[in-house]
Amino acid sequence: MLLSIRSLTKSFPGTVALDQVDFDLQAGEIHALLGENGAGKSTLIKCLTGAYRRDGGTISLDGAEVDPRSTVEAQDLGIGTVYQEVNLLPNLTVAQNLMFGREPRRMGLINSRAMRDEARGMLHQYGLDIDVGRDLGSYPVAIQQIIAIARAVSLSGKVLILDEPTASLDAAEVRMVFDVVRGLRDRGLDIIFVSHFLDQVFDLTDRVTVLRNGRKVVTESTAALNRVSLIEHMLGRELEDQVDELSSDAPHSALPELLRFTNFGRRGVIEPFDMVVGRGEVVGLAGLLGSGRTESAELIFGLRPAQTGTASDANGELDLKSPPAAIAAGFGFAPEDRKTDGIVADLSIRENIILALQARRGWARPLPRSEQNRLADDYIDKLDIRTSGREKAIGDLSGGNQQKVVLARWLAMNPRFLILDEPTRGIDVGAHAEILRLIHRLTEQGMSVLIISSEIDELVAVADRVMVLRDRRFVAELEGPLVTGDEIMRAIASDDGNRGAA
């Protein structure tokens, strides 16, 4: 056992990012680390590379406990990392990048010729024969990625962490990088491979560890897993006990139609799709990370305007070319990344709630303070936001309560159609169920909701109808009794099963 992690724990204000996680890396294996956004993958990696200090638990390497405090220290211990964004300097030459900090010197001065020779020899092991005197930035990303791997290996040499190294590569380039990675495994290096591309996981790795909500779900040999079981591990099936079935089993055709999207799409973002939303209906969007869930929402809300198709309601066509236009059409959007896109952390709860309302009125007509107070108190009461008062900074609230404030902001606008992107991300289970119940209450009052979630149970619990996305396409629509975890899982996994084996 080369690398062994026991009960690793790390928390941030409002969330527990890693909760008692165990992880083992055996000598000479490629080990996939999987999980949706917020599952704790990157936190685990950052604890390993010294970017974060852990709160509890142990990390041991070769039997000795280690506690890296910086990336450089982790490197010296033998843990090297290659990130999604190439972390080398494009303005230096390939040789300078490879040899940085270890340049061969003669009388205190860098010996450029020896440096280039050494760099060339290093890349030769990876089957790369390029001009090392040229700037790194002049080479394609795949080559840069291999150079980054070469540097990490030569610096550390025990454990190599590949953090989404293929995210910006095309298929041929991915093969090239994978050949290099396999070569390294055969040389006895241990590799942690973080990715959300399941095909690549099946293609490359020996074992898989799945994280969800900061906890380890399973460690299993890749060969013993199939796509459906893997997705099941990633997306989870534990909510069922927490929430009663909220959605109605009645087919949506019973609900009066509110909105209709026809051939709605944008090139390179999401293929044209048709969608009908009923009054008071909850439509779920399911799919894996990168399938186009968030992009669909951004298209509908006008963040990235659609290039084809139309949106219409009972009164005719709707203009959704920009967020203000979408808001004017009665839409609301609570984005995925609450911290960067949702809340203004330094402002108070009251200010966060009235933000969108005030924006619609324009700066010349400020909302009277008494009205602001009334709104804030009203929603704090209605949504059960737990706070000592309306003037508390929103950044000090827990994740669940922050999310409720974001919801309140849009509810204050009284929208007819609310888009919620991962509304329960990073929220504890109790608050989770509460938010789902709240969504249900809203739809009973006639509001329609589009909910995006990577947790299938959540969709099953709250959605009347689920649309499934894969590879930026709408591939299935499930409604009524078909909205079950198994059906959704099957729709997400189908087709790809064949490709994954290839």
Binding site: V72, N87, L88, Q96, S138, A142
Partner: protein, 324 residues
């Protein structure tokens, strides 16, 4: 060929073309006399621009250097007037002082994570104020050693005088070239200019490097102050106002990217000489107002900024085509 080097070649070509144009009009301009004067007149901006080049390569800026030069002149003049110290000892004291001053600014920039612009702006006022404190009047320097320094030159073929301060400038450029392109410290400077976060991940000791960069710039400003005092034979606290901006202009015309990470020491020498050449041309012409210098330098600067933007676009689109 690296696109990073293109601005350097552009600088050299522009300089040679400009020289050619001047020569066609005034054949005398191609003589060792003119070249000797060019080097002498541009010795102090040349030296300070070497320090500035390193600072800009690292992605920083040093606005204090003009004031430090003025302070140096006054410091030397007052000490030579009021004490019996030998000028060499005064030089050593001064260089220690300005280097420490630069190091302190570097430390603040790193430690407080403050923009270099603000910290060195404060340094600019501090140094200028310190110069006023020493003397408001212009203080002449009268010392036999100074006379000797001022008159030291090597007579080139063609009666041109390569003065001591001209040689000092060329040696400074050579030293700067070795430091920037031949040492690990220099590589760290380029790394910081390429991206601080990445540089840290690659093991650059950011604090130490930042302190050294500004200490180097402070040292160069002190050296430039010494050369300036030899050149003018006096110390005056109102001198060299705006020299920091001239130095920045020379660095950029020399092909260094103002955002850091790309450029060459040699380019800075050419940048300084180009600016000197424009002035020489105006002197030769005799009818042009000296303000034309500023207009031509402004145009050149604009041209270089556009050139660098264009090259950036070009290399990106080339990469996209190659990568697709």
């Amino acid at each position: 060929m690296n696109t990073r080097a293109l601005p350097l070649y552009a600088t050299i070509v522009i300089f040679l073309l400009a020289y050619l144009l001047c020569w066609l009009q005034f054949p005398n301009i191609l003589s060792t006399r003119v070249i000797g004067n060019l080097l002498t007149d541009n010795a102090y901006p040349g030296i300070v621009a070497v320090g500035m080049t390193l600072v800009i390569l690292s992605g920083g800026i040093d606005l204090s250097v003009g004031s430090v030069i003025a302070f140096s002149g006054v410091f030397i003049a007052v000490l030579l007037r009021d004490t019996s110290l030998h000028p060499l000892i005064v030089f050593a004291l001064l260089l220690a002082l300005t280097t420490a001053f630069g190091a302190a600014m570097g430390f603040l920039i790193y430690r407080l994570a403050m923009p270099a612009f603000i910290v060195t702006l404060a340094g600019m006022f501090l140094a200028r104020g310190a110069a006023y404190m020493l003397s408001i009047e212009s203080v002449p320097i009268q010392h036999p050693f100074y006379e000797a320094l001022k008159d030291a030159y090597w007579l080139m073929p063609g009666k041109g005088r390569l003065t001591l301060i001209g040689i000092a400038m060329l040696l400074t450029v050579l030293g700067g070239t070795i430091i920037a392109h031949g040492t690990r410290f220099g590589a760290s400077v380029y790394a910081l200019g390429g991206g601080e976060a990445t540089a840290r991940l690659m093991g650059v000791r950011q604090g130490r490097t930042t302190v050294l960069i500004y200490a180097f710039s402070g040292f160069m400003a002190g050296l430039s102050g010494i050369v300036f005092s030899i050149y003018t034979g006096s110390g005056y606290s109102l001198a060299t106002v705006g020299t920091e901006l001239t130095a920045i202009a020379a660095v950029v015309i020399g092909g260094t990217l103002l955002t850091g990470g790309a450029g060459y020491m040699f380019g800075t020498l050419i940048g300084v000489l180009t600016m000197g050449l424009i002035q020489t041309y105006i002197v030769f012409d005799g009818t042009l107002s000296s303000w034309w210098t500023k207009i031509v330098i402004g145009t050149l600067l604009l041209g270089f900024i556009l050139l660098q933007k264009g090259l950036l676009k070009l290399s990106q689109s080339r990469l996209n085509r190659g990568g697709a």
